[in-house]
């Protein structure tokens, strides 16, 4: 047992390392309220722009708020909403992809051409446009991100369903009297989910990036809510005197996105799954 675990640790170094980092981040995100030394939104101008100290491990920002606490809380928002975006767009993509792939014909054409239309625009541009129409705010940004992300899942799932449909066991199931729904539940969905999990890992990095970019532009998370992108935005006026205000949240975004990407790459290599 121990030898087996050791051999896995050795052969899958990247996967193990990335998973550990993500678990730690997830832990921070869940238990942020108990981990923070100070209230992340408490303004105290008397201690503004301080260097690291025992009370404030990473110093304070221009309003005297604890940077460390804000970073921990930021993990909550970034990871939490990235997971929300991932799950929502995956569910929509799964439903649309399966319907398009399994039904075929004009339904397939309609859904996929709509998807092509969405994909024709650069992601960020489309999100900007949608947020411009709906107005700034976290809810709108998340909806817009889901709107551009589901297409990728739908396309990949449709492709997988198309190749699954030709498998003899689907025909055999039909001949055995299984209904369409049973075939979906038993044969189609279990066979498309594992590659999707891998794809999702890669997409998760993008979701966090996009969410932070939107907040940086002042369209997503609104102050005083602590979020990494918004923190960079607030810190940018102090880039000459206090560059660490931008540096810390920037490093966190980098860490999370790189971890997700490396994990996604390693997983897709391990399971031989193509990206996008």
């Amino acid at each position: 047992m121990i030898a087996k675990i050791r051999s896995i640790l050795k052969s899958e170094k990247v996967i193990v390392l990335c998973s550990v980092i993500l678990c730690v981040l997830l832990f921070i995100a869940i238990f942020a309220p108990w981990l923070v030394p100070n209230d992340p939104t408490f303004v105290n101008l008397a201690v503004k722009l301080q260097s690291p100290s025992l009370d404030y491990p990473l110093g304070t920002d221009h309003l005297g708020r604890c940077t460390f606490s804000r970073i921990l809380y930021g993990a909550r928002i970034s990871l939490g909403f990235a997971i929300l975006i991932f799950i929502s767009s995956l569910s929509i993509g799964l439903i649309v992809g399966i319907i398009a792939g399994y039904r075929g014909g004009w339904v397939d054409q309609l859904l996929m051409r709509f998807g092509d239309g969405v994909m024709a625009f650069p992601n960020l541009l489309l999100v900007l446009g949608l947020v411009g129409i709906w107005g700034a705010g976290l809810k709108q940004v998340i909806l817009a991100l889901i709107f551009v992300q589901w297409v990728y899942y739908a396309r990949v799932i449709r492709g997988m369903v198309l190749s699954l449909k030709e498998q003899n066991y689907i025909t055999a199931a039909r001949i055995s009297g299984s209904s369409q729904w049973t075939i979906m539940k038993k044969h189609v969905i279990p066979n498309v989910l594992p590659p999707l999990a891998v794809m999702g890992t890669l997409e998760m990095g993008w979701a966090i990036m996009d969410l932070s970019s939107m907040s940086f532009l002042g369209l997503g998370v609104q102050p005083p809510t602590p979020e990494w992108g918004a923190m960079i935005h607030e810190g940018k006026s102090y880039i000459r005197t206090n560059p660490e205000l931008m540096l810390y949240p920037g490093l966190m975004i980098m860490l999370v996105v790189i971890t997700f990407n490396l994990l996604g790459e390693a997983l897709s290599e391990r399971f031989g799954i193509k990206r996008r």
Binding site: N168, Y169, T171, A172, A173, I175, S176, G177, T182, N191
Partner: protein
Amino acid sequence: MSLLQVNRVNHSYNSKRFFKWKDQMNKALSDISFSIEEGKCVGLLGTSGAGKSTLGKVILGIQRPQQGQILFQGHDIYNADKRTRQMLRRDLQVVFQDSYSAVNPRMTAERIISEPLENYEKLTVGERRKTVISLLERVDLSEKDLKKYPHQFSGGQLQRINIARAISLKPKLIVLDESVSSVDMVTQSLILDLLKGLKEDFGLSYLFITHDIKAAFSISDTIGVLEKGELIQMYDSKDQFFSSKHPVVMQMKDSILAEHPRFRSIFN
């Protein structure tokens, strides 16, 4: 009344071409009629692309032919109402050539075999497991194999699992679509023996689709020769087949390898 009657079935595949005005039609089946009596095995011999598999699909009710009808137990399977169709499905099963692609790689042998049972029989978990075990034993596998996944079986064993699934509802007709073509000679003869035994036990009828003349003769009562979508002739016995002077049959006979090169021209 015959168990299965194929009446003047025509089918062609439509290959749509983007830049062509006219779609090209590839005739797969033309004017095919024959019938299968209860408890009999009809063999269908043909080269690749002769339309054997298309005919199999048409009979199984998954490929509606453009013309003609399939009468199974007196019901037209493509024009029956939903309930009748569901009832007919039960008596009509299939065993495919490629045993690996015919089973879901994520399901255990138990779940694979019990799928038809779940759809038609209201059984408790215990009863179902008992049925599955008895089916496994009937196809010369054992209770140990219940929890195994497809990749843990050999091709021959997997084909037995496919057979077990096909007989689980005690159907009347099983379509064997090249069922023994992808396994080695020894396994092939063992599976053919198994199929013969099952035919006796359950009073099954088979439609045995194959390109293998020896296999076809070892199990079939009647043999039909299919060539370019046409049913050339039905032969009731081996002698009739071998004395036939039809060019297609002559060609097939030539292709049989003699047991020793010395007997090369044994049939001519």
